[in-house]
């Protein structure tokens, strides 16, 4: 019955913890890869983006 499925149960809390936990980890991972990209692009001396005064940086 639908009412039984909706009822709050310990099992639902555990599944929620799993889903929220995974969600948080994935968001942090995306943020980390974004930060890594920003840090990597623009600090490479061989990369025109990283050298101030070059055409690409202006």
């Amino acid at each position: 019955m639908a009412t039984q499925i909706r009822a709050e149960h310990e099992l639902h809390r555990r599944r929620l913890s799993r889903n929220v936990g995974l969600g948080v980890v994935l968001i942090l991972f995306v943020a980390l890869v974004y930060g890594l990209t920003i840090a990597k692009v623009g600090t490479d001396p061989n990369d025109a983006l990283g050298v101030p005064g070059t055409e690409a940086s202006q």
Binding site: E10, L11, R14, S17, L22
Partner: protein, 310 residues
């Protein structure tokens, strides 16, 4: 198994159970030593790159922990200390742990390659292979020197951290590896002398069981001397300095004295004071490793002000 057991809420894994697969306590050692390796290296690393690299090294270590739990599920069920791990507790299926371990291993190595380069990623891949295949699958159940071999896997992180910064391997990074490598046997065997464990039941050859407690005491003393040589040699390299040397001299003096105290005792003396010397030695071993790497960190922190290093 009945149909209702599928919905047994006790067996439903929460996020923490998956996290426990990654052996968080081992991970803390990995994070600390890898961070020291990265910071003491002569090449500065962008803070975001450093953070990412440390996280992926920790993830790789965690992934090898999950693969270790997958392979060792049979013996973990037999030993009291490990019965509460996620697989023997019935929360995570063996196949699930295997899938998580493999997926996270690949992810950690690929991401570390992007963040820290080929050498660091190669070392991480080798560490995972070494811990899972050489140690867990092969030598853990076949030789009483298993602790020595397993310790090597735990000793790689500072080398990986160093490789992230410098892109290579050097005397300093090899000696940082050797420090944890030589530290593991006395650390673990002193624990084995005072904790009642059931490795025999699980047919895991522990030195205390296969060669006896006297042989274990001799081994502790031998490795403690080797450890002192390595620790002091590390102090003479470019990342050492007066602070490290002072800390190391004191700690190694105490550690050798502790190993002698253990070596001189027999089982009757151990029983009489409830393994006091072994307990003290084990506690000291925890401080020993932490303070050695901590002293390296102090040297690196003081260096810009003209105080650290030689």
């Amino acid at each position: 198994m009945t149909d209702t057991s599928v919905f047994d809420s006790e067996k439903e894994a929460g996020f923490g159970d998956y996290f426990a697969l990654l052996k968080p306590r081992v991970m803390s050692l990995v994070v600390f030593t890898a961070l020291v390796g990265l910071i003491v290296a002569p090449v500065p690393v962008h803070p975001v790159v450093a953070l990412a690299a440390i996280l992926f090294i920790a993830l790789g270590g965690g992934a090898s922990g999950a693969l270790n739990m997958w392979w060792d599920a049979d013996i973990d069920r037999l030993m009291r200390r490990t019965q509460k791990r996620p697989i023997p507790a019935g929360k995570v299926a063996e196949g699930e742990a295997f899938a998580i371990g493999i997926a996270l291993s690949v992810m950690a190595v690929v991401m570390l390659f992007l963040a820290g380069g080929l050498v660091a990623a190669g070392l991480l891949a080798f560490t995972i292979f070494f811990y899972v295949v050489i140690y867990t699958m092969w030598l853990k159940r076949s030789t009483p020197q298993n602790i020595v071999i397993g310790g090597a896997a735990g000793a790689f992180p500072p080398m990986i951290g160093w490789a992230v910064a410098t892109g290579g391997v050097s005397v300093e990074s090899v000696l940082m590896f050797a420090l944890t490598f030589a530290w593991t046997p006395p650390h673990f065997w002193s624990l084995a002398l005072f904790v009642k464990n059931d490795y025999a039941k699980a047919h895991v050859p522990m030195l205390t069981v296969t060669h006896g407690r006297d042989a274990t005491r001799k081994h502790i003393l031998g490795y403690t001397f080797a450890l002192a040589v390595v620790a002091l040699a590390l102090g003479l390299t470019s990342i050492g300095g007066p602070v490290y040397m002072a800390v190391s001299l004191v700690l190694n003096g105490l550690f050798i004295k502790g190993a002698f105290d253990i070596w001189r005792r027999d089982d009757a003396a151990c029983e009489a004071d409830k393994h006091l010397a072994e307990r003290k030695f084990f506690k000291l071993s925890l401080a020993y490793l932490f303070l050695h790497f901590g002293a390296l960190l102090v040297e690196a922190t003081l260096a810009p002000y003209g105080w650290g290093g030689w």
